[in-house]
Amino acid sequence: MSQDTTAPGADGGSGSPEVTGPDGPSRSTAAGPTGAGAGGVVGRLAEVNIAGPHGAPPPSDPVRQTVAGIPRTPGGGPSPEPFRRRFQRIWPNAVALITAAIFIFPVYWMIASSLKQRGDILTRDPVFVFVPTLDNYSTAMGADLFWTYVRNSFVVTVCAVLLALLVALAAGFAIARMEFKGRRGMILVIMMAQMAPWEVLIIVMYLNARDLEMLNSLLALTIIYFVMALPFTLWTLRGFIAAVPKELEEAALIDGCSRTRAFFSVIFPLLAPGLMATSIFGFIMAWNEFAMVLVLNKAPEAKTLPVWLSSFQTAFGNDWGATMAASTLVTIPVLVLFLILQRRVTGGMAAGAVKG
């Protein structure tokens, strides 16, 4: 693979002046002093090293390469950059800035609206500079049953996640470490269940809950959310358990640990990132869930935050400041968890623990 990719590069070193690619010109000048042919490759490697410390894979980054290449121009004196080159360096940044603004704007608008006074919100021309107030938040928090909804959402979400972790740990261990009949079938079922279209099953869920006299109950919601989160949790934890070297566990067994003890003192600590990722995933899923509550829990005191928020017009009428404050409040826990998830899970703590 690497052979294939370097070979045309070495040839290109001598023929590069004709290249019209975005960083072609800078490359040819960089290769100049060290000579043609193989020297071109050396020059390019040096560039890679210059760009390296900044992080990300440098060769895939034409912008930085061009920058790194400029000081190496022979014959002294930075020649005036042609317009085309400057444009090619600037446009990705300009497009990125506009894109970032588009993606973040709705979130900004939600938070900004939640901090405005009534007079600054209900205007035909939007107000961008305003005196912030927290009144909307106290209106939202003072709404009928607000704290009941907060409690319902938290109780259902946390219970479902804990249940899913417990059940998934047991089953994940069996699938990752034991050989039994039906293991392959089980793996297939889990994969399919991950894609289960729950939204399409809401009617039958309503009828089931009604037959069991579990309408307007938090228990029914907890059970459903637990089963919704289970396949992903199981699948992910299975992977984490399988990644723990068997030798670690065996060493514990030889030292006289029981299997249970070996599991909790050797495998369990190494599962921390997996437990965190799956519980955050489960939390976000259950916290956001809308269709089931809408159908199963019609009684006001049995609803959760999303369904309450979706009926904001009955809650707040035309009070968009309070509506946006409520939206922000519902968003905050998810946002915080999301940021933790992004950081932690990609870090790959398990890899470090196993290799170290």
């Binding site: 894979p57 034409p62 399409v200 968009w320």
Partner: protein, 317 residues
């Protein structure tokens, strides 16, 4: 519990896969809670959904709790209902527009991320993660605020752009317009997943290969078509099918935006099943609609699993 000697048993296949061998009841005991809960909640729901679709099940049967079998009556009724066909076509068009927009824009932004310098990349990533993290219902509420008839930002913005006639424009006045806003919402929420995952995949492609291509005078489009597309083909296929499944079954975004209205003109199949069932108390017909929806989804899903299994086979030597 298991004596270590057991691992030394001449069980060649197990040793090769590196697994311990405590056969017997223990593994079954460990998987029992998972199997039972999946079976009782999900399995039973899927089965009963099919059963109800063959039953006469309305308000009367709901109260009397009797079972009246109806054969294919519900299916005949649903398939003869022009509303079902309208909704089916609408759902497919809605899904196609969404998936194309998500994949094209997501890919462009993923490629852009790959070109950016560190600071700019971080900025764009944060913006994407923020949009990705937004919960569905707060987002729909937020979009109905941005597109509010009287005080909405969008009507003002259209005026700024020079379009006339957007003063007090009601964006939720027609089904198409409502679904256009749902599209905007879903595309906004879904692009980050595609863009960030594509970027993560692109970082695994060595930079030399682009360089080599550029040396040979390849254009950006050519590099995408001849290098990135073939290497990332599994990613594009799998993500496209994931998005097809996700958009097709999207319920909360469409329902919470306008309740399927005005006058049921923005209903997609999952919303129609909900309204037939909970609104009209036609549980048999609703079950038939959801069975048909499930069958369509099953088609997309089986291809998705085919892709996943193929990829796994390729990864294993």
């Amino acid at each position: 519990m298991t004596p270590p000697a057991r691992a030394a048993e001449p069980a060649a296949p197990a040793a090769a896969t590196g697994r311990r061998l405590p056969t017997g009841w223990l593994p079954y005991l460990l998987i029992a809670p998972a199997v039972l809960s999946l079976g009782l909640v999900l399995g039973w729901a899927l089965l009963r959904n099919v059963l109800i679709s063959f039953q006469e099940f309305g308000r009367r049967q709901l109260i009397s709790r009797t079972t009246e079998w109806a054969g294919f009556d519900n299916y005949v009724e649903v398939l003869n209902n022009p509303r079902f066909w309208d909704t089916l076509v609408r759902t497919f068009v809605f899904m196609a527009v969404n998936v194309v927009l998500i994949m094209v824009l997501g890919t462009l932004i993923g490629l852009l991320l790959n070109r950016l310098g560190g600071k700019m990349r971080l900025t764009l990533s944060i913006a994407l993660v923020m949009a990705w993290a937004m919960p569905i219902i707060p987002s729909t509420v937020l979009f109905s605020w941005i597109f509010h008839t009287q005080y909405g930002l969008m009507n003002w913005f259209m005026g700024v752009l020079g379009f006339t006639g957007f003063d007090q424009h009601n964006w939720f006045g027609t089904g198409t317009s409502t679904l256009a806003i749902a599209t905007l919402l879903i595309v906004w929420m879904s692009i980050p997943f595609v863009a960030l995952n594509l970027y993560a995949g692109l970082t695994t492609i060595g930079g030399e290969i682009y360089e080599a291509a550029r040396m040979d005078g390849a254009s950006a489009w050519r590099i995408f078509r001849s290098i990135i597309l073939p290497i990332m083909k599994p990613f594009f296929l799998i993500t496209t099918f994931l998005e097809i499944i996700w958009v097709f079954k999207a319920f909360a975004q469409v329902y919470a935006l306008n309740g399927g209205g005005p006058s049921r003109a923005s209903e997609t199949l999952p919303v129609m099943a909900y309204i037939e069932g909970m609104g009209q108390q036609q549980f048999g017909a609703a079950a038939a609609i959801s069975v048909l929806t499930l069958l369509i989804l099953l088609g997309a899903m089986s291809y998705y699993f085919h892709l996943i299994l193929k990829q796994e086979k390729e990864q294993q030597p």
